[in-house]
Symmetry: C2
Protein backbone atom coordinates (compact mmCIF):
# COMPACT_ATOMS: atom_id res chain seq x y z
CA UNK A 1 0.00 0.00 0.00
CA UNK A 2 1.25 3.48 -0.89
CA UNK A 3 0.75 6.59 1.21
CA UNK A 4 0.61 9.53 -1.18
CA UNK A 5 0.53 13.20 -0.22
CA UNK A 6 0.92 14.87 -3.59
CA UNK A 7 -1.72 15.17 -6.30
CA UNK A 8 0.91 14.88 -9.00
CA UNK A 9 2.31 11.65 -7.58
CA UNK A 10 -1.19 10.17 -7.22
CA UNK A 11 -1.94 10.95 -10.87
CA UNK A 12 1.27 9.26 -11.96
CA UNK A 13 0.28 6.12 -10.06
CA UNK A 14 -3.27 6.26 -11.45
CA UNK A 15 -1.97 6.66 -15.00
CA UNK A 16 -0.64 3.11 -14.87
CA UNK A 17 -3.70 1.30 -13.52
CA UNK A 18 -6.51 -0.48 -15.34
CA UNK A 19 -10.04 -1.44 -14.37
CA UNK A 20 -12.41 0.31 -11.99
CA UNK A 21 -11.22 2.71 -9.31
CA UNK A 22 -13.05 3.09 -6.02
CA UNK A 23 -12.73 6.01 -3.61
CA UNK A 24 -13.66 6.28 0.05
CA UNK A 25 -13.40 9.99 0.98
CA UNK A 26 -12.82 10.40 4.73
CA UNK A 27 -11.57 12.90 7.27
CA UNK A 28 -9.60 10.14 8.99
CA UNK A 29 -10.06 9.03 12.61
CA UNK A 30 -11.33 5.86 10.99
CA UNK A 31 -13.76 3.61 12.85
CA UNK A 32 -15.85 0.53 12.01
CA UNK A 33 -18.28 2.67 10.04
CA UNK A 34 -15.48 3.74 7.69
CA UNK A 35 -14.18 0.18 7.64
CA UNK A 36 -17.49 -1.06 6.27
CA UNK A 37 -17.20 1.44 3.38
CA UNK A 38 -13.58 0.51 2.76
CA UNK A 39 -14.29 -3.22 2.74
CA UNK A 40 -17.15 -2.79 0.30
CA UNK A 41 -15.00 -0.57 -1.91
CA UNK A 42 -12.16 -3.11 -1.94
CA UNK A 43 -14.55 -5.94 -2.79
CA UNK A 44 -16.09 -4.06 -5.74
CA UNK A 45 -13.15 -2.31 -7.45
CA UNK A 46 -9.83 -3.14 -9.06
CA UNK A 47 -7.96 -0.21 -7.48
CA UNK A 48 -8.88 1.36 -4.17
CA UNK A 49 -8.14 4.74 -2.68
CA UNK A 50 -8.97 6.01 0.80
CA UNK A 51 -8.55 9.77 1.09
CA UNK A 52 -7.82 11.23 4.51
CA UNK A 53 -8.24 14.97 4.64
CA UNK A 54 -9.75 17.13 7.38
CA UNK A 55 -11.28 19.68 5.04
CA UNK A 56 -11.08 23.20 6.52
CA UNK A 57 -13.71 24.63 4.15
CA UNK A 58 -16.53 22.56 5.62
CA UNK A 59 -15.96 23.75 9.20
CA UNK A 60 -17.46 26.98 10.52
CA UNK A 61 -15.29 29.45 12.47
CA UNK A 62 -16.59 28.24 15.85
CA UNK A 63 -16.53 24.55 15.00
CA UNK A 64 -14.10 21.80 15.94
CA UNK A 65 -11.61 21.92 13.05
CA UNK A 66 -8.59 22.32 15.32
CA UNK A 67 -9.51 19.61 17.76
CA UNK A 68 -10.98 17.18 15.20
CA UNK A 69 -9.27 13.83 15.92
CA UNK A 70 -6.24 13.05 13.72
CA UNK A 71 -5.01 9.47 13.94
CA UNK A 72 -3.10 8.96 10.72
CA UNK A 73 -0.92 6.11 11.94
CA UNK A 74 -3.85 3.97 13.07
CA UNK A 75 -5.83 4.93 9.95
CA UNK A 76 -3.02 3.79 7.68
CA UNK A 77 -2.82 0.49 9.55
CA UNK A 78 -6.55 -0.12 9.15
CA UNK A 79 -6.35 0.64 5.42
CA UNK A 80 -3.37 -1.65 4.96
CA UNK A 81 -5.15 -4.51 6.68
CA UNK A 82 -8.20 -3.92 4.50
CA UNK A 83 -6.08 -4.27 1.34
CA UNK A 84 -6.41 -0.67 0.19
CA UNK A 85 -4.01 0.30 -2.64
CA UNK A 86 -3.47 3.97 -1.83
CA UNK A 87 -4.06 6.22 1.16
CA UNK A 88 -4.21 9.75 -0.21
CA UNK A 89 -3.43 12.15 2.64
CA UNK A 90 -2.74 15.63 1.23
CA UNK A 91 -1.97 18.72 3.28
CA UNK A 92 -4.32 21.72 3.26
CA UNK A 93 -1.86 23.65 1.12
CA UNK A 94 -1.72 20.81 -1.40
CA UNK A 95 -5.53 20.85 -1.69
CA UNK A 96 -6.04 24.63 -1.50
CA UNK A 97 -3.06 26.34 -3.02
CA UNK A 98 -4.51 29.85 -2.99
CA UNK A 99 -7.03 29.70 -0.19
CA UNK A 100 -10.48 28.88 -1.49
CA UNK A 101 -11.18 30.26 -4.90
CA UNK A 102 -13.63 28.63 -7.26
CA UNK A 103 -16.27 27.05 -5.04
CA UNK A 104 -19.20 24.82 -5.70
CA UNK A 105 -22.29 26.40 -4.32
CA UNK A 106 -25.19 24.22 -3.44
CA UNK A 107 -28.29 26.20 -4.21
CA UNK A 108 -31.00 26.84 -1.61
CA UNK A 109 -33.10 23.88 -2.65
CA UNK A 110 -35.00 21.91 -0.07
CA UNK A 111 -32.07 19.93 1.27
CA UNK A 112 -29.45 22.58 1.89
CA UNK A 113 -30.71 25.32 4.20
CA UNK A 114 -32.34 23.01 6.72
CA UNK A 115 -31.23 20.39 9.26
CA UNK A 116 -27.40 20.48 9.44
CA UNK A 117 -27.27 23.26 6.82
CA UNK A 118 -29.17 25.63 9.12
CA UNK A 119 -26.61 25.66 11.91
CA UNK A 120 -23.59 24.92 9.69
CA UNK A 121 -23.81 27.73 7.12
CA UNK A 122 -21.61 27.00 4.10
CA UNK A 123 -20.87 23.48 5.34
CA UNK A 124 -22.35 21.72 2.34
CA UNK A 125 -20.66 24.09 -0.12
CA UNK A 126 -17.36 23.09 1.47
CA UNK A 127 -18.30 19.41 1.27
CA UNK A 128 -19.40 19.66 -2.37
CA UNK A 129 -16.22 21.52 -3.32
CA UNK A 130 -13.80 19.09 -1.68
CA UNK A 131 -15.67 16.04 -2.95
CA UNK A 132 -15.63 17.38 -6.51
CA UNK A 133 -11.89 18.05 -6.16
CA UNK A 134 -11.33 14.49 -4.93
CA UNK A 135 -13.39 13.09 -7.82
CA UNK A 136 -11.26 15.09 -10.27
CA UNK A 137 -7.99 14.16 -8.59
CA UNK A 138 -8.71 10.42 -8.43
CA UNK A 139 -10.85 10.00 -11.60
CA UNK A 140 -12.73 7.41 -9.56
CA UNK A 141 -15.54 5.31 -11.04
CA UNK A 142 -17.28 4.71 -7.71
CA UNK A 143 -17.31 6.60 -4.41
CA UNK A 144 -18.57 5.30 -1.07
CA UNK A 145 -20.44 7.37 1.53
CA UNK A 146 -22.14 6.43 4.79
CA UNK A 147 -25.86 6.89 5.34
CA UNK A 148 -25.18 8.43 8.75
CA UNK A 149 -24.56 11.70 6.91
CA UNK A 150 -27.86 11.33 5.07
CA UNK A 151 -28.17 14.98 4.09
CA UNK A 152 -24.59 15.05 2.80
CA UNK A 153 -25.27 11.90 0.80
CA UNK A 154 -28.38 13.45 -0.75
CA UNK A 155 -26.49 16.63 -1.68
CA UNK A 156 -23.56 14.74 -3.18
CA UNK A 157 -25.90 12.63 -5.30
CA UNK A 158 -27.58 15.84 -6.46
CA UNK A 159 -24.22 17.44 -7.27
CA UNK A 160 -23.12 14.39 -9.27
CA UNK A 161 -26.36 14.58 -11.21
CA UNK A 162 -26.27 18.36 -11.72
CA UNK A 163 -22.65 18.53 -12.82
CA UNK A 164 -22.64 15.21 -14.72
CA UNK A 165 -19.82 13.61 -12.76
CA UNK A 166 -19.22 10.14 -14.19
CA UNK A 167 -19.05 8.63 -10.70
CA UNK A 168 -21.39 6.08 -9.15
CA UNK A 169 -22.29 7.00 -5.58
CA UNK A 170 -22.61 3.97 -3.29
CA UNK A 171 -24.37 4.54 0.01
CA UNK A 172 -23.60 2.24 2.90
CA UNK A 173 -25.65 1.46 6.02
CA UNK A 174 -24.99 3.09 9.37
CA UNK A 175 -22.75 1.03 11.64
CA UNK A 176 -23.65 1.20 15.33
CA UNK A 177 -22.06 0.27 18.65
CA UNK A 178 -23.78 -2.67 20.37
CA UNK A 179 -25.85 -0.29 22.48
CA UNK A 180 -27.11 1.58 19.39
CA UNK A 181 -24.84 4.65 19.27
CA UNK A 182 -23.97 5.41 15.65
CA UNK A 183 -20.24 5.22 14.95
CA UNK A 184 -18.67 8.67 14.62
CA UNK A 185 -15.18 10.09 14.84
CA UNK A 186 -16.63 12.65 17.24
CA UNK A 187 -17.62 9.91 19.72
CA UNK A 188 -14.04 10.08 21.03
CA UNK A 189 -14.95 13.50 22.51
CA UNK A 190 -17.56 11.93 24.81
CA UNK A 191 -16.92 11.47 28.52
CA UNK A 192 -18.45 8.35 30.04
CA UNK A 193 -21.33 10.45 31.38
CA UNK A 194 -21.81 12.02 27.89
CA UNK A 195 -21.79 8.53 26.43
CA UNK A 196 -24.86 7.54 28.47
CA UNK A 197 -26.71 10.74 27.52
CA UNK A 198 -25.79 10.25 23.85
CA UNK A 199 -27.65 6.94 23.76
CA UNK A 200 -30.94 8.82 23.94
CA UNK A 201 -30.40 9.94 20.34
CA UNK A 202 -30.44 6.49 18.74
CA UNK A 203 -33.10 5.34 21.20
CA UNK A 204 -35.39 8.18 20.16
CA UNK A 205 -34.99 7.33 16.48
CA UNK A 206 -35.57 3.64 17.15
CA UNK A 207 -38.70 4.54 19.12
CA UNK A 208 -40.01 6.61 16.17
CA UNK A 209 -39.40 3.73 13.78
CA UNK A 210 -41.20 1.28 16.05
CA UNK A 211 -44.20 3.57 16.51
CA UNK A 212 -44.38 4.19 12.77
CA UNK A 213 -44.25 0.43 12.12
CA UNK A 214 -47.19 0.03 14.50
CA UNK A 215 -49.25 2.51 12.47
CA UNK A 216 -48.53 5.89 14.09
CA UNK A 217 -48.27 8.31 11.17
CA UNK A 218 -48.80 11.70 12.78
CA UNK A 219 -45.63 13.79 12.63
CA UNK A 220 -46.63 15.57 15.82
CA UNK A 221 -47.10 12.35 17.76
CA UNK A 222 -43.81 10.90 16.47
CA UNK A 223 -41.94 14.15 17.20
CA UNK A 224 -43.36 14.31 20.74
CA UNK A 225 -42.29 10.73 21.32
CA UNK A 226 -38.76 11.41 20.04
CA UNK A 227 -38.39 14.59 22.11
CA UNK A 228 -39.65 12.79 25.19
CA UNK A 229 -36.94 10.11 24.82
CA UNK A 230 -34.34 12.86 24.26
CA UNK A 231 -35.44 14.82 27.36
CA UNK A 232 -32.46 16.52 29.00
CA UNK A 233 -30.52 16.73 25.72
CA UNK A 234 -29.96 19.97 23.78
CA UNK A 235 -31.85 18.96 20.62
CA UNK A 236 -30.80 21.00 17.59
CA UNK A 237 -33.37 19.43 15.28
CA UNK A 238 -35.66 16.48 14.87
CA UNK A 239 -37.43 16.14 11.56
CA UNK A 240 -39.13 13.58 9.36
CA UNK A 241 -38.46 14.01 5.63
CA UNK A 242 -39.13 12.39 2.30
CA UNK A 243 -35.87 10.50 1.74
CA UNK A 244 -35.88 11.22 -2.00
CA UNK A 245 -36.52 14.98 -1.90
CA UNK A 246 -35.62 15.97 1.66
CA UNK A 247 -38.88 17.88 1.80
CA UNK A 248 -40.46 17.91 5.25
CA UNK A 249 -43.12 15.25 5.66
CA UNK A 250 -46.79 16.29 5.73
CA UNK A 251 -48.53 16.35 9.10
CA UNK A 252 -49.74 12.87 8.35
CA UNK A 253 -46.83 10.99 6.81
CA UNK A 254 -47.38 9.72 3.27
CA UNK A 255 -47.21 5.94 3.00
CA UNK A 256 -46.21 5.88 -0.66
CA UNK A 257 -42.83 7.58 -0.24
CA UNK A 258 -39.70 6.55 1.65
CA UNK A 259 -39.37 8.53 4.85
CA UNK A 260 -36.41 9.26 7.08
CA UNK A 261 -36.27 10.64 10.62
CA UNK A 262 -33.21 12.78 11.37
CA UNK A 263 -31.90 14.40 14.51
CA UNK A 264 -28.95 16.40 15.79
CA UNK A 265 -28.11 16.98 19.44
CA UNK A 266 -25.46 18.89 21.33
CA UNK A 267 -23.89 17.31 24.37
CA UNK A 268 -21.58 19.26 26.66
CA UNK A 269 -18.40 18.14 28.32
CA UNK A 270 -18.50 19.41 31.91
CA UNK A 271 -21.08 21.68 33.50
CA UNK A 272 -21.06 24.58 31.06
CA UNK A 273 -23.06 24.73 27.84
CA UNK A 274 -20.21 26.57 26.17
CA UNK A 275 -19.42 26.23 22.47
CA UNK A 276 -15.94 24.88 23.17
CA UNK A 277 -17.37 22.10 25.35
CA UNK A 278 -19.94 21.09 22.76
CA UNK A 279 -20.03 17.70 21.08
CA UNK A 280 -22.47 17.71 18.18
CA UNK A 281 -23.89 14.32 17.21
CA UNK A 282 -26.22 13.42 14.35
CA UNK A 283 -28.13 10.26 13.55
CA UNK A 284 -31.04 9.13 11.40
CA UNK A 285 -33.25 6.15 10.68
CA UNK A 286 -35.24 5.16 7.62
CA UNK A 287 -38.85 4.52 8.55
CA UNK B 1 -18.73 11.53 -37.85
CA UNK B 2 -21.49 11.02 -35.29
CA UNK B 3 -23.94 13.71 -34.16
CA UNK B 4 -24.91 12.88 -30.60
CA UNK B 5 -27.58 14.63 -28.54
CA UNK B 6 -27.71 12.40 -25.48
CA UNK B 7 -25.16 12.29 -22.66
CA UNK B 8 -25.76 8.57 -22.19
CA UNK B 9 -25.10 7.81 -25.85
CA UNK B 10 -21.94 9.93 -25.84
CA UNK B 11 -20.63 8.03 -22.81
CA UNK B 12 -21.28 4.72 -24.52
CA UNK B 13 -19.27 5.85 -27.54
CA UNK B 14 -16.48 7.21 -25.32
CA UNK B 15 -16.32 3.96 -23.35
CA UNK B 16 -14.94 2.23 -26.42
CA UNK B 17 -12.22 4.68 -27.42
CA UNK B 18 -8.54 4.74 -26.57
CA UNK B 19 -5.90 7.45 -26.56
CA UNK B 20 -6.31 11.14 -25.87
CA UNK B 21 -9.64 12.93 -26.22
CA UNK B 22 -9.85 16.57 -27.28
CA UNK B 23 -12.84 18.87 -26.79
CA UNK B 24 -13.72 22.15 -28.46
CA UNK B 25 -16.62 23.64 -26.49
CA UNK B 26 -18.64 26.05 -28.66
CA UNK B 27 -22.03 27.72 -28.88
CA UNK B 28 -22.17 26.91 -32.61
CA UNK B 29 -22.44 29.48 -35.40
CA UNK B 30 -18.95 28.30 -36.22
CA UNK B 31 -16.53 30.59 -38.05
CA UNK B 32 -12.85 30.52 -38.97
CA UNK B 33 -11.88 31.26 -35.38
CA UNK B 34 -13.61 28.07 -34.22
CA UNK B 35 -12.15 26.23 -37.19
CA UNK B 36 -8.62 27.05 -36.05
CA UNK B 37 -9.40 25.50 -32.63
CA UNK B 38 -11.00 22.46 -34.23
CA UNK B 39 -8.09 21.88 -36.60
CA UNK B 40 -5.58 22.13 -33.79
CA UNK B 41 -7.65 19.76 -31.64
CA UNK B 42 -7.89 17.21 -34.46
CA UNK B 43 -4.15 17.39 -35.08
CA UNK B 44 -3.27 16.80 -31.42
CA UNK B 45 -5.74 14.16 -30.21
CA UNK B 46 -6.86 10.62 -31.03
CA UNK B 47 -10.57 11.32 -30.59
CA UNK B 48 -12.17 14.71 -31.14
CA UNK B 49 -15.41 16.20 -29.91
CA UNK B 50 -16.93 19.57 -30.80
CA UNK B 51 -19.77 20.51 -28.48
CA UNK B 52 -22.43 22.87 -29.77
CA UNK B 53 -24.64 24.25 -27.04
CA UNK B 54 -26.02 27.76 -26.61
CA UNK B 55 -25.81 27.79 -22.83
CA UNK B 56 -28.77 29.67 -21.30
CA UNK B 57 -27.10 30.07 -17.90
CA UNK B 58 -24.39 32.39 -19.22
CA UNK B 59 -26.83 34.90 -20.74
CA UNK B 60 -28.41 37.67 -18.70
CA UNK B 61 -32.16 38.33 -18.92
CA UNK B 62 -31.74 41.24 -21.35
CA UNK B 63 -29.07 39.60 -23.48
CA UNK B 64 -29.26 37.94 -26.89
CA UNK B 65 -29.93 34.30 -25.95
CA UNK B 66 -33.04 34.05 -28.13
CA UNK B 67 -31.55 35.66 -31.20
CA UNK B 68 -28.08 34.14 -30.86
CA UNK B 69 -27.31 32.62 -34.31
CA UNK B 70 -28.02 28.89 -34.60
CA UNK B 71 -26.60 27.27 -37.73
CA UNK B 72 -26.37 23.60 -36.85
CA UNK B 73 -26.42 22.27 -40.39
CA UNK B 74 -23.48 24.40 -41.54
CA UNK B 75 -21.65 23.73 -38.25
CA UNK B 76 -21.95 19.98 -38.71
CA UNK B 77 -20.62 20.26 -42.25
CA UNK B 78 -17.60 22.25 -41.08
CA UNK B 79 -16.86 19.67 -38.38
CA UNK B 80 -17.22 16.79 -40.80
CA UNK B 81 -14.77 18.40 -43.22
CA UNK B 82 -12.33 18.99 -40.37
CA UNK B 83 -12.39 15.27 -39.49
CA UNK B 84 -14.08 15.65 -36.11
CA UNK B 85 -15.29 12.35 -34.59
CA UNK B 86 -18.34 13.55 -32.67
CA UNK B 87 -20.48 16.68 -32.66
CA UNK B 88 -22.18 16.76 -29.27
CA UNK B 89 -25.30 18.92 -29.58
CA UNK B 90 -27.50 18.43 -26.51
CA UNK B 91 -30.78 20.22 -25.83
CA UNK B 92 -31.14 22.54 -22.83
CA UNK B 93 -33.27 19.96 -21.06
CA UNK B 94 -30.59 17.29 -21.61
CA UNK B 95 -27.99 19.58 -20.03
CA UNK B 96 -30.17 21.08 -17.27
CA UNK B 97 -32.71 18.50 -16.20
CA UNK B 98 -34.02 20.40 -13.21
CA UNK B 99 -33.28 24.00 -14.06
CA UNK B 100 -29.98 25.13 -12.62
CA UNK B 101 -29.19 23.51 -9.33
CA UNK B 102 -25.62 23.00 -8.17
CA UNK B 103 -23.64 25.86 -9.69
CA UNK B 104 -20.01 26.71 -9.81
CA UNK B 105 -19.45 30.11 -8.37
CA UNK B 106 -16.40 32.04 -9.40
CA UNK B 107 -15.33 34.05 -6.39
CA UNK B 108 -14.87 37.81 -6.54
CA UNK B 109 -11.18 37.64 -7.28
CA UNK B 110 -9.56 40.16 -9.54
CA UNK B 111 -10.72 38.69 -12.83
CA UNK B 112 -14.41 38.14 -12.26
CA UNK B 113 -16.19 41.33 -11.26
CA UNK B 114 -14.51 43.56 -13.82
CA UNK B 115 -14.45 43.93 -17.62
CA UNK B 116 -17.14 41.62 -19.05
CA UNK B 117 -18.10 40.43 -15.55
CA UNK B 118 -19.19 43.92 -14.57
CA UNK B 119 -21.93 44.25 -17.16
CA UNK B 120 -22.67 40.53 -17.44
CA UNK B 121 -23.41 39.60 -13.81
CA UNK B 122 -23.33 35.83 -13.30
CA UNK B 123 -21.99 35.26 -16.82
CA UNK B 124 -18.76 33.61 -15.72
CA UNK B 125 -20.54 31.41 -13.16
CA UNK B 126 -22.67 30.13 -16.04
CA UNK B 127 -19.59 29.59 -18.20
CA UNK B 128 -17.70 27.79 -15.42
CA UNK B 129 -20.69 25.56 -14.68
CA UNK B 130 -21.32 24.50 -18.27
CA UNK B 131 -17.63 23.97 -18.99
CA UNK B 132 -17.25 21.78 -15.90
CA UNK B 133 -20.30 19.78 -17.00
CA UNK B 134 -18.80 19.33 -20.47
CA UNK B 135 -15.47 18.24 -18.97
CA UNK B 136 -17.30 15.65 -16.84
CA UNK B 137 -19.49 14.46 -19.71
CA UNK B 138 -16.65 14.03 -22.20
CA UNK B 139 -13.80 13.06 -19.81
CA UNK B 140 -11.58 15.02 -22.21
CA UNK B 141 -7.81 15.22 -21.78
CA UNK B 142 -7.46 18.56 -23.58
CA UNK B 143 -9.87 21.43 -24.22
CA UNK B 144 -9.39 24.28 -26.70
CA UNK B 145 -10.42 27.89 -26.13
CA UNK B 146 -9.86 31.05 -28.13
CA UNK B 147 -7.86 33.98 -26.79
CA UNK B 148 -10.56 36.38 -27.99
CA UNK B 149 -12.43 35.56 -24.79
CA UNK B 150 -9.31 36.31 -22.75
CA UNK B 151 -11.13 36.81 -19.46
CA UNK B 152 -13.10 33.59 -19.93
CA UNK B 153 -9.87 31.75 -20.71
CA UNK B 154 -8.24 33.09 -17.55
CA UNK B 155 -11.24 32.07 -15.42
CA UNK B 156 -11.43 28.58 -16.92
CA UNK B 157 -7.73 28.02 -16.27
CA UNK B 158 -8.27 29.16 -12.68
CA UNK B 159 -11.26 26.84 -12.29
CA UNK B 160 -9.30 23.89 -13.65
CA UNK B 161 -6.56 24.67 -11.16
CA UNK B 162 -8.88 25.29 -8.20
CA UNK B 163 -11.03 22.19 -8.74
CA UNK B 164 -8.18 19.94 -9.94
CA UNK B 165 -9.72 19.06 -13.29
CA UNK B 166 -7.36 16.70 -15.09
CA UNK B 167 -7.75 18.65 -18.34
CA UNK B 168 -5.09 20.57 -20.23
CA UNK B 169 -6.38 23.95 -21.43
CA UNK B 170 -5.02 24.96 -24.82
CA UNK B 171 -5.41 28.59 -25.76
CA UNK B 172 -5.47 29.54 -29.44
CA UNK B 173 -4.72 32.86 -31.12
CA UNK B 174 -7.43 35.26 -32.23
CA UNK B 175 -8.40 34.85 -35.89
CA UNK B 176 -9.23 38.12 -37.68
CA UNK B 177 -10.88 39.18 -40.91
CA UNK B 178 -8.43 40.71 -43.41
CA UNK B 179 -9.37 44.20 -42.22
CA UNK B 180 -8.64 43.32 -38.59
CA UNK B 181 -12.11 42.61 -37.16
CA UNK B 182 -11.87 39.69 -34.73
CA UNK B 183 -14.00 36.71 -35.81
CA UNK B 184 -17.17 36.40 -33.73
CA UNK B 185 -20.51 34.67 -34.14
CA UNK B 186 -22.07 38.02 -33.25
CA UNK B 187 -20.51 39.68 -36.32
CA UNK B 188 -23.49 38.34 -38.29
CA UNK B 189 -25.63 40.91 -36.43
CA UNK B 190 -23.70 43.80 -37.99
CA UNK B 191 -25.15 45.91 -40.81
CA UNK B 192 -22.62 47.11 -43.37
CA UNK B 193 -22.55 50.50 -41.65
CA UNK B 194 -22.02 48.78 -38.26
CA UNK B 195 -19.23 46.77 -39.85
CA UNK B 196 -17.28 49.95 -40.66
CA UNK B 197 -17.77 51.35 -37.15
CA UNK B 198 -16.77 48.00 -35.61
CA UNK B 199 -13.34 48.23 -37.22
CA UNK B 200 -12.43 51.03 -34.81
CA UNK B 201 -12.23 48.42 -32.04
CA UNK B 202 -9.38 46.36 -33.49
CA UNK B 203 -7.72 49.53 -34.84
CA UNK B 204 -7.68 51.05 -31.35
CA UNK B 205 -6.07 47.94 -29.87
CA UNK B 206 -3.51 47.78 -32.69
CA UNK B 207 -2.71 51.45 -32.10
CA UNK B 208 -2.12 50.79 -28.39
CA UNK B 209 0.20 47.89 -29.19
CA UNK B 210 2.19 50.01 -31.66
CA UNK B 211 2.53 52.93 -29.23
CA UNK B 212 3.61 50.54 -26.46
CA UNK B 213 6.19 48.97 -28.78
CA UNK B 214 7.56 52.47 -29.43
CA UNK B 215 8.05 53.01 -25.71
CA UNK B 216 4.80 54.64 -24.55
CA UNK B 217 4.10 53.05 -21.16
CA UNK B 218 1.66 55.46 -19.53
CA UNK B 219 -1.76 53.86 -19.12
CA UNK B 220 -3.40 57.28 -19.42
CA UNK B 221 -1.67 58.06 -22.71
CA UNK B 222 -2.48 54.63 -24.14
CA UNK B 223 -6.10 54.81 -22.98
CA UNK B 224 -6.52 58.29 -24.47
CA UNK B 225 -5.12 57.03 -27.76
CA UNK B 226 -7.48 54.03 -27.78
CA UNK B 227 -10.54 56.13 -26.92
CA UNK B 228 -9.62 58.61 -29.58
CA UNK B 229 -9.56 55.88 -32.25
CA UNK B 230 -12.90 54.54 -30.91
CA UNK B 231 -14.53 58.01 -30.99
CA UNK B 232 -18.22 57.69 -31.84
CA UNK B 233 -18.49 54.16 -30.43
CA UNK B 234 -20.27 53.30 -27.16
CA UNK B 235 -17.20 52.00 -25.29
CA UNK B 236 -18.14 49.74 -22.38
CA UNK B 237 -14.58 49.34 -21.18
CA UNK B 238 -10.97 49.73 -22.18
CA UNK B 239 -8.38 48.42 -19.77
CA UNK B 240 -4.79 47.26 -19.65
CA UNK B 241 -4.17 44.30 -17.33
CA UNK B 242 -1.46 41.92 -16.23
CA UNK B 243 -2.22 38.90 -18.42
CA UNK B 244 -1.34 36.45 -15.64
CA UNK B 245 -3.38 37.95 -12.82
CA UNK B 246 -5.91 40.17 -14.58
CA UNK B 247 -5.01 42.91 -12.13
CA UNK B 248 -5.24 46.39 -13.61
CA UNK B 249 -1.88 47.69 -14.78
CA UNK B 250 -0.11 50.39 -12.75
CA UNK B 251 -0.20 53.95 -14.11
CA UNK B 252 3.15 53.24 -15.69
CA UNK B 253 2.99 49.74 -17.14
CA UNK B 254 5.44 47.25 -15.70
CA UNK B 255 7.87 45.93 -18.28
CA UNK B 256 8.57 42.65 -16.49
CA UNK B 257 5.06 41.22 -16.77
CA UNK B 258 2.95 40.24 -19.77
CA UNK B 259 0.29 42.85 -20.43
CA UNK B 260 -2.96 42.71 -22.32
CA UNK B 261 -5.25 45.51 -23.52
CA UNK B 262 -8.94 44.63 -23.58
CA UNK B 263 -12.01 46.47 -24.80
CA UNK B 264 -15.76 46.00 -25.23
CA UNK B 265 -18.01 48.21 -27.32
CA UNK B 266 -21.70 48.36 -28.08
CA UNK B 267 -22.81 49.05 -31.62
CA UNK B 268 -26.45 49.72 -32.44
CA UNK B 269 -28.44 48.50 -35.43
CA UNK B 270 -30.50 51.49 -36.63
CA UNK B 271 -30.80 54.91 -35.06
CA UNK B 272 -31.82 53.94 -31.52
CA UNK B 273 -29.43 53.01 -28.76
CA UNK B 274 -31.93 50.45 -27.45
CA UNK B 275 -30.91 47.22 -25.74
CA UNK B 276 -32.62 45.10 -28.40
CA UNK B 277 -30.64 46.82 -31.17
CA UNK B 278 -27.34 46.39 -29.39
CA UNK B 279 -24.47 44.33 -30.73
CA UNK B 280 -21.79 43.85 -28.11
CA UNK B 281 -18.29 43.16 -29.40
CA UNK B 282 -15.12 42.40 -27.47
CA UNK B 283 -11.50 42.21 -28.52
CA UNK B 284 -8.04 42.26 -26.97
CA UNK B 285 -4.38 42.38 -27.84
CA UNK B 286 -1.28 41.22 -25.97
CA UNK B 287 1.22 44.04 -25.67
Amino acid sequence: MKIIKSIKELRTVLGGIQGKTGLVPTMGALHKGHLSLIERCVSENDFNIVSIFVNPTQFGPKEDFDKYPRTLEADVKMCEQADVDVVFAPSSSEMYKNTMDTTLVCPPYAAVDKLCGKSRVGHFDGVATVVSKLFNITSCDRAYFGKKDAQQLFIIKKMVDDLNFNVEIISCDIVREEDGLAMSSRNTYLTSQNRTEALKLSKALKCVKDLYAKGENSVKALTDAALSVMQGLDVEYFEICDLNTFHEADNIIKQDVENIALAAVNIYQGENSKAENRVRLIDNIEL
